[in-house]
C-alpha cells in the first residue's frame, strides 16, 4: 500500500517561509476556490493556511539553538479526524493515504478540527468549510506537468531541500531511507495517530582539524616548502606579504 508523506529535515530548514507562501499561492489558485484572507493589510490580519512555519528556542541562553518547525497536516495512518466527521466529508484515500476534505459535503461543524491534536485544520471563514493540506493532490498526479514537478508546491519551493516527498511505505524510497538513516520521528506519538509525515532531528555537524592537516608535516618530494614568514613589524607592500 502507498502512503504519501513529507519528511521535513529540521537540521536544514532555515525558516524562510517559502513553503508557506508557495503552498498558499498554489492552493488559493486551484479549482477549489480561494483560501480566504481577511484584513491582509490591516492591524489584525487573518487567513487560511495549510502550512505554517514556527520557531522554537531550545536550551538556556547562551547555549541555545533555534529550531524552525514547519507544520502541516501529517496525513496520519490512524487519523482521529476522519471517523468523527458526521458527513464523511473528511476521508483518507485508500490508494495513496492522503487525508482530504470534500468541500461539497462539509457542513462546517468543526468537529474534525477538535479531533486533530496537531492543530492543522483551519476553517475557511468565507467558504465555511474545513480546509487542510492536500499534499497538492492536484499537482502530484498532473500528467501535463514535467515529471520532476509532480511534487507538492512546498517541496518545489524549499531552497534548502529540507522537504522530501514520497511513499513512506516503500522501503526503497528516498523518504524511507531518510527516516531510517537519519532518525526520522513522528509528532506526539502518545496519541497513537501514527502520523505519516516525519521529521528529521537536528544533528551536530562537527569537524576536528589538526595542525598537521593545515601545514603539511611530511613533504617527501620537497615540492612544497614553508612560505616565508617575515616579522610582523616589517613594512609590507600589501596584505599578501605580511603573514
Amino acid at each position: 500500500m502507498t502512503q504519501l508523506a513529507l519528511v521535513i529535515d529540521l537540521n536544514v530548514c532555515v525558516g524562510c517561509h517559502a513553503c508557506v507562501t508557495s503552498c498558499k499561492e498554489w492552493n488559493t489558485s486551484g479549482p477549489a476556490g480561494a483560501m480566504s484572507d481577511d484584513r491582509p493589510y490591516g492591524a489584525d490580519p487573518t487567513g487560511t493556511f495549510f502550512n505554517r512555519v514556527q520557531t522554537y528556542e531550545v536550551g538556556c541562553f547562551p547555549k541555545t539553538e533555534t529550531v524552525h518547525f514547519p507544520k502541516s497536516c501529517l496525513h496520519c495512518e490512524e487519523p482521529p479526524c476522519v471517523p468523527v466527521c458526521p458527513t464523511g466529508a473528511s476521508y483518507k484515500r485508500k490508494e495513496d493515504g492522503i487525508v482530504l476534505v470534500d468541500y461539497d459535503k462539509c457542513i462546517g461543524c468543526k468537529y474534525c478540527s477538535w479531533a486533530c491534536p496537531y492543530g492543522v485544520r483551519e476553517i475557511d471563514e468565507h467558504q465555511k468549510v474545513m480546509k487542510k493540506c492536500t499534499l497538492c493532490v492536484d499537482r502530484i498526479y498532473d500528467l501535463s506537468l514535467p515529471e520532476a514537478e509532480r511534487k507538492p508546491a512546498c517541496v518545489m519551493a524549499c531552497p534548502t531541500s529540507a522537504r522530501l516527498f514520497g511513499d513512506v511505505h516503500d522501503p526503497e524510497s528516498a523518504v524511507s531511507e531518510a527516516i531510517r538513516e537519519s532518525g526520522g520521528y513522528q509528532l506526539m506519538p502518545e496519541w497513537g495517530t501514527k502520523p505519516s509525515n516525519h521529521y528529521l532531528p537536528r544533528r551536530k555537524t562537527q569537524i576536528r582539524i589538526h595542525t598537521d592537516e593545515l601545514i603539511r608535516a611530511d613533504n617527501p618530494l620537497k615540492k612544497e616548502r614553508q612560505l616565508p614568514q617575515p616579522d610582523k613589524n616589517e613594512p609590507s607592500l600589501d596584505d599578501v606579504t605580511s603573514w
Binding site: Q54, P83, V84, P117, I123
Partner: protein
C-alpha cells in the same frame, strides 16, 4: 476550548427537554403501578410533553447556528457507524418525533390498550410510546456526551463522568421544570417531582464535583517536547508563524483570565446546584409555587454557566503550538 453559544444552548436546552420527558413518563409509570394518584390524562401529559418538545426544538434551532452550511445538515446522518455527532443527529429527531406522538396520544385521548403486563397491569399505547421515548432519551444523552467524551486528547472530557454529568444535569433541570409545571397543571404531582428534582440535583452535584476534582489533578500527556519532538527540558516557542490571529488561536482557547474561570466555577456550583436545592426545599416545605419556577430559572442559568465552563476548561494539545506570536 472556545465555548460556542450555539452548543451551550443546544446541550442545555435539549437536556431540559429530555429531563422533562423522563419526568413525565416516570410520573405516568408510577401512577400505573399506583405509587401515585392516577392523573387526569390529557392536559398534564400532553401539555408537559409539548413543553419538552419546545425545548428540544429550541435546542435544534440553536445547533444550526454552529454550522457553516446548515443547508447541508441532512448529510450529517451519513456516518453513524463511526461518528457520535452523526448518531446524535439521527437520535435527536427520532426522539422529538416520539415525544410528539406521546403528546398527541395524550392530547387526543386515542389510547387503545395494546398489551397486558402480568395479570392485571394494562399497557396502553402511550406507555409503549413512552418506553420507546425513554430509550431514545437515554441514547440521546449518551450521544451528546460521547461527542465530547470520545476525544481522547481532550483529557478533561475523556471520562465516563462526562456522560454521567450530561445525564444527571439534564435530568435534574427537567425534573425541576416538571415540578414548576405541575404547580399549575397537576398540584398533586408537585411533591413527587420536587423530591426527585432534589435527589437528582444532589447526585449531579456529587458527580460534577467528582469531575472537577479529577480535572484539577490531570497531567497533560502532550508537552512541547512531544509536540515538536525535541528532547530538551528547555524549549520555548519564539514564533507561531503569523502575527495576527488564526482559526487555531480563536477556536481552541477561551481567551479569558484564569480568575474569571474560577468565578464561573463557583457561580455554577451555586446556581446550578446549591440554590436550586434550597429553593426546591423551600417549595416543598412551604408549598408556595413560585419557589419551583425560581428553582428552574436559577438552575437553567447555572447550567449555562456550567456548560461554558465545561468547554473553557478543556485544554486542547494543539494550543502547545500557539504560545507566542513572535
Amino acid at each position: 476550548m472556545h465555548p460556542a453559544f450555539s452548543v451551550i444552548f443546544l446541550t442545555t436546552l435539549i437536556g431540559v427537554g429530555q429531563g422533562l420527558f423522563l419526568a413525565l413518563y416516570t410520573g405516568q409509570v408510577y401512577s400505573l403501578i399506583h405509587v401515585l394518584p392516577t392523573q387526569a390524562e390529557g392536559g398534564f401529559y400532553a401539555g408537559g410533553s409539548a413543553l419538552a418538545l419546545l425545548f428540544l426544538i429550541a435546542g435544534l434551532v440553536a445547533s444550526f447556528f454552529h454550522l457553516g452550511h446548515p443547508e447541508r445538515a441532512w448529510r450529517s446522518a451519513a456516518k453513524w457507524r463511526t461518528s457520535w455527532l452523526s448518531r446524535e443527529v439521527i437520535v435527536l429527531p427520532s426522539f422529538m418525533g416520539t415525544v410528539f406522538l406521546y403528546a398527541a396520544v395524550h392530547y387526543t385521548g386515542w389510547n387503545p390498550q395494546v398489551a397486558t403486563l402480568g395479570e392485571s397491569l394494562p399497557l396502553d399505547l402511550s406507555l409503549v410510546i413512552g418506553a420507546a421515548g425513554t430509550a431514545l432519551c437515554f441514547a440521546l444523552f449518551i450521544c451528546t456526551a460521547m461527542i465530547y467524551a470520545c476525544l481522547k486528547f481532550l483529557q478533561e472530557w475523556h471520562s465516563p463522568l462526562t456522560v454521567i454529568n450530561y445525564l444527571l444535569l439534564g435530568s435534574a433541570s427537567g425534573f425541576t421544570l416538571a415540578a414548576a409545571f405541575s404547580v399549575y397543571s397537576a398540584p398533586e404531582m408537585v411533591r413527587f417531582y420536587g423530591t426527585w428534582a432534589m435527589i437528582i440535583t444532589f447526585a449531579g452535584l456529587v458527580t460534577r464535583s467528582a469531575s472537577l476534582l479529577r480535572n484539577a489533578r490531570l497531567k497533560p500527556k502532550s508537552t512541547l517536547q512531544t509536540a515538536i519532538g525535541v528532547r530538551h527540558v528547555q524549549v520555548a516557542q519564539k514564533a507561531q508563524g503569523f502575527m495576527g490571529g488564526s482559526f487555531n488561536t480563536r477556536e481552541f482557547f477561551h481567551g479569558k483570565p484564569a480568575s474569571l474561570l474560577r468565578s464561573i466555577k463557583w457561580l455554577f456550583l451555586l446556581a446550578a446546584f446549591a440554590m436550586p436545592l434550597l429553593l426546591l426545599g423551600g417549595g416543598l416545605s412551604s408549598a408556595a409555587g413560585a419557589f419551583f419556577s425560581a428553582a428552574f430559572l436559577t438552575q437553567y442559568a447555572g447550567l449555562l454557566a456550567e456548560r461554558w465552563f465545561f468547554f473553557a476548561q478543556a485544554n486542547h494539545p494543539q494550543n502547545l503550538y500557539y504560545q507566542a506570536i513572535s
